[in-house]
């Protein structure tokens, strides 16, 4: 194969693109290396080197799971389900008005009300439910209520965000049609908007419920009740064989809730 020197050879990218890419990659690598050195400044490498031994040690302690402990887990499991379900309920109830206030086509005032509603959504979404639980346990004391309220507060942002996007995507001609019959604002929402967003609403709620089950299993770590409370006490007594049982229960709960949520969403959407 000989090519004449003056015939252009096909290349994947132009040389300018090539340069830009190299510069981009260079900065990314440099930044990562910089972050890595900064992060591992205080790491004690002896502990890291020791990890395989620790892992086998913990694995050895975990392995015959203490199945008898399962009997003490039914009550926390019920509590966990309640935290997730009641929390979702609270979150959804508050999220509905917030979503209507945040959606561009239903908000009473684009300039004043909409930003406030969006701020509520952002605040609720950017704080993890574990942090909400941490705050609420400090404020209203440890127990199920703190967990329920934490899950509720976290769910508001998620549900309201997806719901207001659904409201903004509705078919406006139906709204027009209902309005032209002389319907009031409330009737327009009731007859033209709600039927259109109802399937999305149920889908979002069940999806959030599924996530909430996942999150409520660990809320107990900070004292908000449920399975996490047992996890915390087993961890602090180093009862690793109980920890295994709790992990398996959490895994089973998560798998079941995911299955239920997938089923319901397929039926609804």
């Amino acid at each position: 194969m000989t090519t004449r020197a003056d015939t252009p050879i096909w290349q994947f990218r132009t040389s300018k693109q090539h340069m830009l890419r190299w510069v981009g990659w260079f900065w990314l690598v440099a930044l990562s290396v910089f972050c890595w050195t900064l992060m591992t400044e205080d790491t004690i490498w002896a502990f890291v080197a020791d990890a395989p031994r620790q892992a086998s040690d913990i694995g050895g302690r975990m392995l015959p799971p203490r199945w008898g402990y399962l009997n003490q887990l039914w009550q926390p499991l019920w509590d966990t389900l309640n935290i997730a379900t009641l929390g979702t309920l609270i979150g959804v109830i508050i999220a509905i008005p917030v979503a209507f206030l945040a959606a561009g086509n239903t908000t009473p005032s684009r300039r004043f009300v909409r930003p406030v509603a969006l701020l509520v959504i952002v605040t609720s979404r950017s704080i993890n439910s574990l942090i909400w639980a941490l705050l609420l346990v400090a404020i209203i004391g440890p127990g199920l209520l703190a967990g329920i309220v934490a899950i509720g507060l976290r769910s508001i942002g998620f549900v309201a965000k997806l719901l207001y996007e659904a409201i903004e995507e509705i078919d406006e001609s139906q709204v027009e049609a209902v309005r032209s019959t002389g319907a009031s604002e409330a009737q327009v929402i009731d007859y033209a908007i709600i039927p259109q967003i109802l399937p999305a609403f149920w889908g979002i709620s069940v999806f959030r419920w599924d996530i909430n089950i996942r999150e409520s299993t660990i809320l107990g770590l900070v004292g908000a009740g449920g399975l996490g409370l047992q996890l915390q006490s087993s961890l602090s007594t180093l009862a690793w064989n109980q920890v295994t049982v709790i992990f398996l229960v959490i895994l089973a709960t998560v798998v079941v809730s995911e299955w239920v949520s997938a089923k319901v969403r397929r039926a609804v959407l």
Binding site: I58, T123, L145, L198, I218, L221, F247
Partner: protein, 269 residues
């Protein structure tokens, strides 16, 4: 009933989701029974809640008048840990998940590799970050290194799954065309698959960066470094103004990361 309705010519709203009234009543009855049971099993110490309200008010005041200065060194250390952890774990997660994602794509990988990679993805996705963090802190000791490993592990499941799905959705005509030129497997991946999935991979990595920052502010609660540990300490000391400052910083960074990542994603795609 139908004859009366049609004779008086009043319109009745059709049921939206459950067409069968028996199903509607069963679900309504079942959920009310569950609600009564659930609510009655939640024990609330209302006196403690009442006592806590004053504390809650102090927290809101602390949130409105945040104190950035008195614990600034702790906050800064926590933030640096969180941010470096976020970046390094996302980079490491992407590096590991690209081969796993390719291996989990049915159109590129042979069956045994496919099963292995899908297995890795399932394991990584079924446990949530906090639980992984607990185990890794026990193995690798306290500090951001355990957090880095946790976030990397969680990123692998997320990114490989979505990348594999994206590769499977690739336009097979382009793969065919490259293969017809006599290209080997590597060349097919490089010239046919990579250009198709690259924009989406960049988008997913940025999305994961966003998620990793949110998670990095939480896993500190179980000892895996980051700003969560600072927050936990501030709340334990009842320093609500410092806690408010940490929360405001978290919300601000989440907002910046979210908006810039969605901006870059729109620009890339």
């Amino acid at each position: 009933m139908t004859s009366e309705v049609t004779s008086s010519r009043t319109w009745k709203r059709p049921p939206v989701l459950l067409k069968d009234p028996r199903w509607r009543w069963t679900i309504l009855l079942g959920s009310s029974v569950y609600l009564i049971l659930a609510i009655s099993s939640v024990e609330v110490d209302w006196f403690r809640v009442y006592e806590g309200l004053e504390r809650g008010w102090r927290f809101i005041q602390g949130f409105l008048t945040p104190d950035f200065s008195s614990r600034w060194r702790d906050i800064q250390a926590g933030l640096i840990e969180s941010l470096t952890m976020t970046l390094t774990s996302t980079v490491a997660g992407v590096l590991v998940s690209v081969p796993i994602g390719i291996g989990a794509a049915r159109n590129l990988a042979p069956a045994p590799v496919y099963m292995l990679c899908r297995g890795i993805i399932t394991v990584s996705r079924s446990f949530q970050e906090i639980i992984i963090a607990i185990l890794l802190v026990a193995m690798f000791g306290f500090g951001p290194f355990a957090g880095f490993l946790t976030l990397t592990f969680a990123s692998i499941g997320f990114l490989s799954k979505l990348l594999a799905e994206d590769i499977e959705d690739c336009d097979s005509a382009q793969i065919e065309a490259i293969r017809a030129t006599g290209a080997g497997w590597w060349q097919v991946v490089n010239y046919a698959v990579q250009p198709q999935v690259m924009p989406r991979l960049i988008g997913l990595s940025l999305y994961r960066l966003d998620i990793n920052f949110r998670e990095s502010s939480v896993i500190g609660i179980v000892g895996a470094g980051g700003v969560g540990a600072t927050l936990n300490t501030a709340i334990d000391r009842y320093e609500y103004d410092s806690a408010g400052a940490v929360l405001i910083i978290i919300i601000a960074i989440v907002l910046v990361v979210e908006y810039s990542s969605s901006y870059i994603r729109r620009w890339v795609q």
